[in-house]
């Protein structure tokens, strides 16, 4: 684990400055910042929020001590813009599944984007978009990644507070199951046979779906995954095999299970590929 920068180590005079930038996304993660209602005033006093078009018309050019980036890269213009943002950011944090793994729109990576354009737009030649949706980390260096669709606002707050305190932010990589069990929820997979992705999904959401009797669909992305390699978590293969053999999902359903909001995150992508051409008896 390399030492990562903290906001205090930058040459900020007075309050550290914060910029919030949007790329291809639904704005839900930026809203999570605004949803920090109880802490927003204190946060606004601890940080100087100088660029946040979702919240304010006052926009400063930077440089910024901390930059939050929402959304994935889907256009040539965005691919240029993210480099400019990075140059002005001391610490860059991606917020949400789109910025961190490409998001739900990364399903286009398996589809014919030109055909989509022709089907949707009367004049498709006006649309200048890339054929892929890619995470910020494929374009510039990212210091910290917050997963989730949307992010957990409390996790965002902790990271900002850690940066303000000058300590390395703690971002857990363990499975959802730990939090699920701490909260005392009955396992939906063991007790009800639901194909829950919790065992291979990163904690941080507060085990929301299992607490409501629903199976986790992996919106916080793969657990661990860094470093990656054979025998290292997440063990998507074992879970997928359980889904198929014992919970009776057909291979196409296993593919869909892993190819969702974080379908382009490597462990989930690799697992969905492995099941793409399997027959039902395998």
């Amino acid at each position: 684990m390399r030492q990562r920068p903290s906001a205090k180590k930058t040459k900020a005079v007075g309050r550290p400055t914060l910029g919030v930038f949007k790329f291809a996304s639904c704005d839900g993660c930026q809203l999570s910042v605004l949803n920090l209602e109880d802490e927003l005033v204190a946060l606004g006093q601890a940080l100087n929020i100088v660029y946040f078009p979702e919240a304010s018309s006052a926009m400063q050019d930077g440089p910024y001590d901390i930059v939050l980036v929402e959304g994935s890269i889907t256009t040539p213009e965005d691919a240029r813009r993210i480099r400019a943002v990075r140059e002005r950011a001391a610490v860059l944090i991606t917020i949400g599944a789109c910025a961190t793994a490409g998001g739900i729109q990364a399903l286009r990576n398996w589809a014919d984007v030109e055909a989509f354009k022709r089907a949707v737009y009367p004049s498709p030649h006006y649309i200048d978009s890339l054929t892929t949706s890619t995470p910020i980390s494929e374009h510039v260096r990212v210091d910290y990644e917050l997963w989730g669709c949307p992010i957990d606002k409390a996790q965002l707050l902790r990271v900002l507070v850690d940066l303000l305190a000058g300590v390395q932010p703690r971002l857990p990589t363990q499975s959802v199951c730990l939090e699920c069990k701490r909260q005392g929820h009955v396992c939906v997979m063991v007790a009800r046979g639901m194909p829950c992705l919790g065992p291979v999904t990163r904690t941080g959401c507060g085990a929301i779906c299992p607490s409501m009797g629903r199976d986790c669909y992996g919106c916080f992305g793969p657990a661990e995954g860094v470093p990656a390699g054979p025998g290292l978590p997440p063990n998507t293969t074992s879970l997928a095999t359980r889904f198929h053999r014992d919970l009776h999902l057909i291979p196409a359903e296993v593919v869909r299970r892993f190819r969702g909001i974080n379908g382009s995150a490597k462990p989930f992508k690799d697992e969905s590929h492995a099941w793409e051409h399997k027959g039902c008896d395998e």
Partner: protein, 373 residues
């Protein structure tokens, strides 16, 4: 738990039609009575105010990676054996605030945040879970340094054990010598018979409570019936752990190829450690407020299956799933013996049932000790 001071009146019989009187007696003594109640397809600890709150009419069927409730016409109060939660969480809380630390001038002030615990009676604690709690006591109340947070919770527990009449396919307490009969560590122990419940005291508090119940003295017949019931339960257990060669045999199996096979199935999700009545790993988290003037320090359940758990300065000493499963099983069944003089396994079978892919340690251990493979 206070030792019995006054001579006991011996076991007594409470007609099942009067079982509510036990709940009433506990409540009148100021206890919040909790037992296993139906929740989301299983049972969880929850308030029991009346007999009808118990999961009468249901039975649990458990196998590796699978838990189901099925209708039962036995009419028994304690037909459902257990759910995912042992009694661990009532003493070793999943999240325990430890300290509130506040800046003051150029220094800081740390105030312990001891829990305010209400007197709680746990109704239906199984022998395996009592054995698990005894292990937790050994860890948290050890020697000169008892953990005050654990102690505050533990001292407010009144434990009503239930001797098991029915074994699950995942049970193996008989081979671990922890059940099906509650041996020690309870205030009251119940054995559910056909028409009556046999009540025995295991502490002075338990004995005092017995005085408040309209018990009739138990003759030899119900006592024999109770013994026969527990013996049949022990005999019906199909799983077992052969522990005679432990701990050394498991140390010798450190390079056994079976570790690779089980690691290929293991999700490293940590469920086994969360449901285990003896696993005690925890981490301490800080939660500073935005102004950086105060922070709450809390202890939360951790697991040896996480990446963070194996991290020491500069590297992760257990990067692979194989390293983590081996660490867990070797500690549980072998080095635990060296460390605490007892096995870390009480035979409750929860790690078998609640493993999402159904890994069964009673299958893994013999395979690991098999030198031919």
């Amino acid at each position: 738990m206070t030792p019995i001071e006054r001579p006991s009146a011996g076991p007594g019989l409470l007609p099942k039609s009067s079982f509510q009187l036990l709940l009433d007696a506990l409540q009148s003594q100021g206890y919040r009575v909790m037992g296993q109640r139906l929740h989301d397809g299983a049972v969880k600890w929850d308030d029991i105010r009346q007999v009808s709150d118990l999961p009468v009419g249901w039975r649990d069927v458990q196998e590796p990676g699978r838990y189901r409730l099925e209708p039962s016409d036995s009419g028994r109060f304690f037909e459902v054996v257990n759910g995912p939660e042992s009694v661990k969480r009532f003493a070793f809380a999943p999240r325990e605030p430890l300290l509130m630390i506040e800046r003051s001038h150029k220094s800081f002030r740390a105030t312990p945040t001891l829990p305010q615990v209400e007197k709680t009676a746990l109704l239906g604690v199984r022998a395996c879970d009592l054995a698990g709690l005894a292990v937790q006591d050994q860890i948290f109340l050890h020697d000169a340094y008892p953990d005050p947070y654990y102690q505050a919770r533990r001292e407010n527990l009144f434990l009503v054990a239930v001797n098991c009449a029915r074994a699950l396919s995942t049970c193996f307490c008989a081979s671990m010598n922890t059940g099906p009969k509650a041996q020690a560590g309870f205030d009251l122990a119940l054995t559910e018979l056909e028409d009556a419940v046999l009540v025995e005291a295991g502490s002075q508090t338990g004995q005092d409570l017995m005085q408040r119940l309209p018990l009739s003295p138990a003759s030899d017949r119900p006592l024999a019936e109770a013994e026969a019931q527990m013996e049949a339960c022990a005999k019906s257990q199909t799983r077992r752990l052969e522990t005679a060669q432990l701990p050394q045999a498991l140390y010798d199996a450190h390079e056994h190829p079976r570790w690779d096979q089980v690691a290929a199935r293991c999700l490293a999700c940590g469920n086994c450690t969360m449901v285990c009545p003896t696993c005690f790993c925890h981490t301490v988290e800080d939660a500073p407020d935005v102004t950086l003037q105060r922070t709450e320090q809390a202890r939360v359940w951790d697991s040896c299956f996480t990446q963070e758990h194996g991290y020491i300065h500069g590297k992760n000493i257990r990067p692979a799933i194989k390293d983590r499963y081996r660490m867990w099983l070797t500690h549980k069944l072998a080095s635990w013996v060296d460390q605490f003089g007892t096995s870390g396994c009480v035979g409750c079978g929860r790690c078998v049932t609640w493993c999402p892919v159904g890994i069964d340690l009673t299958e893994e251990l013999p395979a690991l000790l098999d030198k031919e493979r």
